[in-house]
């Protein structure tokens, strides 16, 4: 698929068309103004070239009308560019509800992907064509950046937090995956492929893949192994909040604040449990900083999610495990 001299990247996603449309619009406008300036400068330089040594130019001090003209016209053109760019950006960074979810972990110097039904990949990412895919991304060490040129999407992967990226592949094919934030020695080796497949092929690939435990199942196992279950339990002896049906809810914290239970909150609660303690509980949970990897944290999150959430993603096959529906009210 790589031709020898590409001049323009393949449009492999729905987003690519939106970005390219803006690109061509800006290219046209800026080419016009570059040519305008270039032609005027060259034309004036020739027309008004100095013809004898003591010639001087005509004293012109300026023109308010012209100044206003070339302030206001660029201003409006730029407002169009801004508005258009803002619209594209807003779409690029607002994942639709019900997108197929994949967890990504970046570490020096590889990309790890976990599909919700257990398939894991390294430096490859298989996605179906025609379905929104949402990546929740964390980093083990330094800042990386997940970049698929053919999809025109990119987001930094920052240690200590999750960033989200989404796209809908529109054309089957194999595309470059680059790390675009400098991350050390083998930064240029932190590359891979994104393989967009027809939905049927994708299902076949999932089925024939090296599926292990789903993240939720792996998370459940961890939940027991790390003895989380001793405190987070369903009965009256629970010394910690019950996790069933918690995801997506707003919880009341000590000190009066509230927090929405999302990926970021669960992550913080595992690594820095004292930061936001749910009211009515003692701050007794130990930190798991250094005891769990980023992947394991994501598995624990998948497990908590699988215990039920407010608005379960309307996904099937390859998405989050079917979750028991809980009423979406606090």
């Amino acid at each position: 698929m790589f031709t020898n001299l590409p001049l323009f990247p393949v449009e492999g996603s729905v987003q690519a068309g939106q970005v390219d449309a803006l690109y061509f619009f800006m290219l046209a406008v800026t080419a016009f103004f570059s040519l305008l300036i270039g032609v005027l400068v060259v034309f004036f330089a020739i027309k008004y070239r100095r013809r004898h040594d003591d010639e001087v130019g005509v004293a012109i001090h300026g023109s308010l009308a012209l100044e206003l003209l070339w302030t206001i016209i660029p201003f409006f053109i730029m407002m169009v560019m801004f508005g258009w760019g803002a619209k594209v950006f807003y779409n690029l960074y607002r994942p639709p509800a019900g997108a197929m979810e994949i967890y990504i972990v970046g570490k020096q110097w590889m990309w790890k992907a976990q599909h919700m039904d257990g398939v894991r990949e390294i430096n490859e990412l298989h996605v179906p064509v025609g379905r929104p895919v949402k990546l929740t991304m964390g980093s083990e060490d330094v800042i990386h950046s997940f970049f698929i040129p053919a999809f025109r999407v990119k987001a930094d992967v920052v240690p200590g937090r999750y960033n989200v990226l989404w796209f809908t592949a529109s054309k089957a094919g194999t595309y470059h995956l680059f790390c675009s934030q400098y991350c050390g020695t083998k930064h240029s080796g932190m590359i891979g492929s994104v393989i967009a497949m027809d939905p049927n092929d994708f299902q076949a690939w999932l089925g024939g893949g090296n599926a292990s435990d789903t993240p939720a199942a792996a998370g459940e196992k961890l939940f027991t192994d790390l003895a989380c279950i001793t405190c987070h339990r369903d009965d009256a002896q629970a010394r910690a909040p019950q996790l069933k049906g918690l995801f997506g809810h707003t919880v009341q914290l000590q000190g009066g604040a509230t927090a929405v239970v999302d990926e970021a909150y669960i992550r913080e609660s595992i690594l820095n449990p004292q930061a936001k303690v749910v009211s009515g509980f003692q701050p007794i949970m130990p930190t798991f900083q250094g005891l769990v990897t980023e992947e394991q944290i994501l598995q624990l999150i998948a497990y908590v999610r699988s215990l039920g959430q407010v608005a379960p993603p309307a996904t099937t096959g390859g998405a989050a495990p079917a979750a028991p529906q809980t009423p979406g009210k606090d």
Partner: protein, 246 residues
């Protein structure tokens, strides 16, 4: 400032001068003050340039500390409880006492500048500057006591950091900021003491009078600025919410 300065609002700095000024021609009234540097026209121009220069430098100092205050702002709004908990382990008494010590030193500094302004005898000028330095040193002494305390309690960020309370991570962040901010402030105090030593020596050599006291004035600006930084550091570090709980 006097009439001379009022003009400076409408004309550039050099309009104090008669319009045509030929080098070395008598008639430029202050051209021969021994402290006038060759590239200035007269004493007021030189004095104004120096104070303006110090003010511009203080703006850079504001931005220099500003980066730290920004970090403080971001992390405190992210961990209000952790910061409060960490702050409770600072000794409010020492902090308040040091604030008062610095305010006293600012007063004596201001009186020192005034002594030079009014051509007071060198003894008086030196007296005020030395008193200022003594209070500055007192401040650093108290700071040293506090630092020693933190080292003893292992509240210094790094591998040996130990925290007994609930918010260990936030507390370590707080103390990272505490040591950076107060440490940088202390370095400014030490530099201030160095400057004051020079100023005191110059005052002792009878270099300052009502006609020429720019160095004292400029050094005073610096000293007061360092005081202002502490005026903000004290409540922000020592008095974070909830001292009524105890």
């Amino acid at each position: 400032m006097s009439d001379g300065h009022a003009h400076a609002e409408h004309f550039p700095g050099r309009t104090h001068m008669p319009p045509v000024h030929v080098e070395g021609v008598p008639g430029a009234p202050h051209a021969h003050h021994p402290k006038l540097q060759h590239h200035f026209d007269n004493m007021p121009q030189q004095a104004e340039a120096s104070t303006l220069g110090m003010w511009v430098f203080l703006v850079t100092e504001i931005m220099f500390f500003g980066g730290l205050f920004m970090a403080y702002l971001i992390y405190r709004q992210a961990n209000p409880e952790g910061f409060a908990e960490a702050s409770h382990h600072l000794n409010v008494f020492w902090g308040a006492l040091n604030t008062i010590v610095l305010i006293v030193s600012s007063l004596t500094m201001a009186l020192g500048v005034r002594a030079a302004q009014t051509s007071a005898p060198p003894k008086t000028q030196v007296f005020w500057i030395v008193v200022t330095m003594m209070f500055g040193a007192t401040f650093l002494g108290i700071k040293a006591i506090e630092y020693a305390d933190k080292f003893r309690l292992n509240h210094v960020p790094g591998p040996n950091f130990h925290w007994e309370g609930q918010h260990a991570a936030a507390a370590q962040m707080f103390y990272s900021l505490y040591f950076c901010m107060t440490g940088l402030h202390a370095i400014h105090m030490i530099i201030g003491l160095g400057i004051m030593t020079v100023i005191a020596t110059m005052a002792w050599k009878r270099q300052f009078d009502a006609d020429y006291y720019t160095p004292v004035e400029v050094a005073g600006l610096y000293w007061h600025f360092v005081d202002i930084v502490w005026i903000f550091l004290f409540p922000l570090l020592y008095l974070i919410g909830g001292h009524f709980v105890e």
